[in-house]
């Protein structure tokens, strides 16, 4: 009869919740126990520095600035005309704009920028979320990364700024590496010759 079926199902419901009463809780107490983030988790943007010399890998090629969908990255790397080399003056990431999509990490060919797994960025004052170069470098100090840059045989006299990372004629681009065809004609910055091409 309907009434027995109803009572049986009501008791079944109680049995299921009762069964969970005995089980160990699966939640963790956040500040004391922390969740180990997986290796690829996209937390906060950091700048990586070379293991030996300790200065930044970034060569100021502006690819990450172009790839960012929310214009969170601001780079000031003027090119002095004769040596055709860019010197990196300032690199700032506005964490209030950043949407943690990881496009900058994929656009960079010099392992200079990475999304580290750290997610604790709560601050009182919003302006402190705009991180400048030193803060980014210091955040990226201990972030492990696979250095896929092709080491150029260091010239007898190492030039002032960091070693030129890539030979002029890169060998066959590996499949995953995205071809930086950045012939954006309306580059309103100073005429950007096809660097690294």
């Amino acid at each position: 009869m309907g009434i027995y079926k109803d009572i049986k199902n009501l008791i079944l419901g109680m049995r299921i919740t009762g069964k969970h009463l005995g089980r160990h809780a699966i939640t963790i107490q956040y500040p004391e126990e922390k969740w180990t983030m997986p290796e690829r988790s996209r937390g906060v943007v950091v700048l990586l520095s070379d293991k030996e010399t300790g200065d930044l890998n970034c060569t100021g090629c502006l690819l990450c600035m172009k790839a960012c969908p929310s214009a969170a990255i601001r780079i000031d790397a003027p090119r002095d005309p004769e040596t055709k080399k860019r010197t990196l003056l300032s690199f700032s990431v506005d964490n209030t704009h950043c949407c943690f999509c990881g496009l900058c990490e994929e656009a960079c060919n010099f392992c200079a920028i990475k999304m580290a797994g750290n997610y604790e960025m709560s601050v009182e004052d919003k302006d402190t979320l705009v991180w400048d170069m030193n803060k980014l470098q210091e955040m990226g100090r201990d972030v492990p990364y696979v250095d896929t840059r092709k080491k150029k045989v260091p010239k007898p006299k190492p030039t002032a700024e960091s070693k030129t990372p890539a030979e002029p004629k890169p060998s066959a681009e590996p499949e995953q590496k995205i071809q930086p065809k950045s012939e954006n004609k309306n580059d309103n910055e100073n005429k950007d010759t096809k660097d690294e091409e």
């Binding site: 199902n9 997986p38 690829r40 960012c68 929310s70 999509c101």
Partner: protein
Amino acid sequence: MGGLKTEEFIVNMGPQHPSTHGVCRLMLTMDGEIVKKIEPVIGYLHRALEKICENRTYAQCIPISDRFEYVTAMSCNQVFSMAAERLAGIEIPERAEYIRVIMLELNRIASHLIFYGVTAMDIGALTPFLYGLREREAIIDLFEMTCGQRLTYNYIRPGGVSKDLPKEFVPQCRSTIAMIKEKLNDYEGLLNENPIWLARTKGVGYLDPKLAIAYGVSGPVLRASGVDYDIRRDDPYSIYDRFDWKVCTRPNGDTYDRYLIRLDEIKQSIKIIEQALDGLPEGNIKAKVSPNFKPPAGENYARVENSRGELGTYMQSTGEKKPLRVKMRGGSFCQLQALPHFGTECFIADLVAIFASLDIILPEVDR
């Protein structure tokens, strides 16, 4: 007693209300407990995503598409990438297709688990919500392991997927799927035959198939009214035709059937994932496509079946690297439009149950 003067009064259900998923306001004209007229007021979550997309390259549109419907962000990535691939005529490698199907079905299960928890909570049972989220966490860990984010994945790109599956993905995915299949019995035991649950959901909010088709309702809500229409089979995309799975429909279109059909769909998704995991080929995961590629002029309306119905993206390009027009069509938009036509003449408690059973989320409605 006939002479008693009664008058209807207007109650605002929302925008701050526990059972509107997201920010939506339903202006209800009520006669005592009976809801006479519903007038949805939306626009609280309008972020002009379509205008933003017009100012981004195709690769930059993908993170924007995550925010279009964040509960099943994978299907948004998929529909954007499909539209861009059709415009540019890109062929996707085999392995990327399999990975995409696995990710889409995992995302559908995660979304249906949220549906299960939230519908139960809206009808008063508070515990299933925690059980649903516990299983969803296992799936979210799979996503975080492969693409790094838990909600907005930015994983499926025009041309394939952005990163390859890590080594421990497949075994962990199989154990997660097995665990969910076994946990489904708990879910069904808790609610399916519960007399209070049956009393609250059986025969509530009947949606007539013809009304559903007239208002463009799609997805599980349409199939729960007996219309056998699923985009994965009827307008085939990706490689769904290689797996054998069944489009489940339910005949009588009330809240109880809309609840049951989602549990059936979880079972079907589990079947698809198992077959996809078995047949996962080797090979590269992304066609050679530069981040700011320029598709030739053309237009295309791509459709994907996600957990809330048909997710469509119309993309028109004129040869530049930024799309001329991106129109996003979500399933909840049409379901919310149809709600005033079949959700009236019922108690306010029923309206909450109907609103939960439609699984409407507001970012998809307001864009």
